[in-house]
Subunit: 236 residues, 2 copies
DNA sequence: AGCGCACTACGTACGGTGTACGTAACTACG
DNA sequence: CGTAGTTACGTACACCGTACGTAGTGCGCT
């Protein structure tokens, strides 16, 4: 039995402290905080095992004692920002308002940590703070008379819409961040190309629509409207 | 003027054939097809400039004559699979049915090319086939009496829900693909951990819900229900 | 008390990535 | 016909995740 075959494990199932050996120099919270700091400052792609280790002040491979795979580092990060929700002790009783308030918290959190939507995945659904989040959301829905499955579908759909819409907001806002040229240039190039395509006459409906020019888009309004529609579709 | 400062450009704005010089050995369609073949067979992470070049039978750096950045390769791929839609000459007149049919085509396409949801982003919205797709969708909505902005919001929301839900389906189905252990093991580990957490009593509502055990989930049913809700929220 | 072992720490190394740069061959235009 | 711009592609650099080996440390058991 020279080498274990890389035992599959959820990182949350591992005890944070082992019984034997020297006591760990860092906690999971330390590691997650360092990674989150990096991602906030330089983007998710800047989060590498080397850089996180350097941020912590330890050797690269030492990090692997705490985080067996990089994917687990992502899971730590996701859980860390999920702790930023302010979950009231008890829901207000108006489940629609409670869900909306939660959605706005989520949106604000993602704007603070713009890399979060890229990590959104059903895979990260079992972390401690995520479980607390789901449980609280379910408590908001105590007054919503529906079977458990429908409540979960509501939660999934709301979270999906939040992620999708905020991801769009962030993608358009931060598109130029990683590019060596300015956002204005990029924007101009893209719209000029779009205009040239529309001018071909192949897309008459888009041409007519964009001719109206409704001015700048109110992103938060779009977000609220989409969310309202989703809740309406369950409310009726 | 020794080196241009990496002029920003949308790849679709570039002419595929330059006037001078030897004629290119490959078309964009060739390149996209090679990349799609690779992604289908080995996953999106296997799509590297080197491997695509090898698939085409040319040197790695030759590929950069056609595709200035890797991001552009993704854009080619996305456009390539967007050509797989079967867009009828004229919509049926029942816009709800037409949108649903389109959504099922999208879902099937993403199950054929499971890497597509990972590429979904507002950034890839100007490719030729994407423009055709949007224009056709707008034509379906000719009978839907609403301002242009609301039609675009409908399209955005439908596409968002499709992507989110199919991404979930794929993520759970393919989770074990890249792991060195089996999907059954992974699944067992995860559910065992979840059960242990629920058993702590900290999540009474989840405990109650999962105690019901409604049997296997009908993924297509969930998809259809979600989509139906979205359309309902616009229909009323 | 003391032995053994699980754990921490970390340097080295391997195979992979995107892509900047330099050079050689080729062709369509002025 | 020359020449400028394009294609082709080998080399090289910085960076990535992580397997592996070695050394040191201190808890738990006998």
């Amino acid at each position: 039995m020279v080498g274990r075959p890389a035992v599959p494990e959820v990182i949350w199932a591992r005890p944070e402290r082992a019984g034997r050996g020297p006591k760990p120099a860092f906690s999971r919270a330390d590691i997650a905080a360092a990674a989150v700091r990096l991602a906030d400052a330089e983007g998710l792609d800047a989060v590498s095992m080397r850089k996180v280790a350097a941020e912590l002040g330890c050797g690269t491979m030492s990090l692997y004692n705490y985080v067996p795979r990089k994917e687990d580092l992502y899971e730590l990060m996701f859980d860390a920002v999920s702790s930023e929700y302010d979950l009231p002790e008890k829901p207000s009783g108006d489940w629609r308002a409670d869900i909306l308030a939660l959605a706005h918290q989520a949106r604000a959190m993602m704007h603070r940590h713009t890399w979060v939507p890229r990590l959104m995945s059903p895979v990260y659904g079992f972390s401690p703070n995520t479980l607390a989040y789901i449980e609280y959301t379910l408590s908001c829905l105590d007054g919503f008379d529906a079977p458990f499955g429908e409540k979960m579908e509501l939660i999934a759909m709301v979270n999906g819409v939040i992620t999708t819409y905020v991801a769009n907001e962030i993608a358009t806002a931060e598109r130029g961040r990683s590019l060596p040229w300015s956002e204005e240039q990029e924007q101009e190039i893209r719209t000029r190309y779009l205009i040239s395509q529309i001018a071909t006459g192949r897309y008459p409906r888009m041409a007519a629509g964009f001719a109206e020019d409704p001015g700048p888009i109110d992103l938060e309004g779009v977000f609220d409207r989409a969310l309202g529609r989703v809740l309406d579709s369950f409310d009726g």
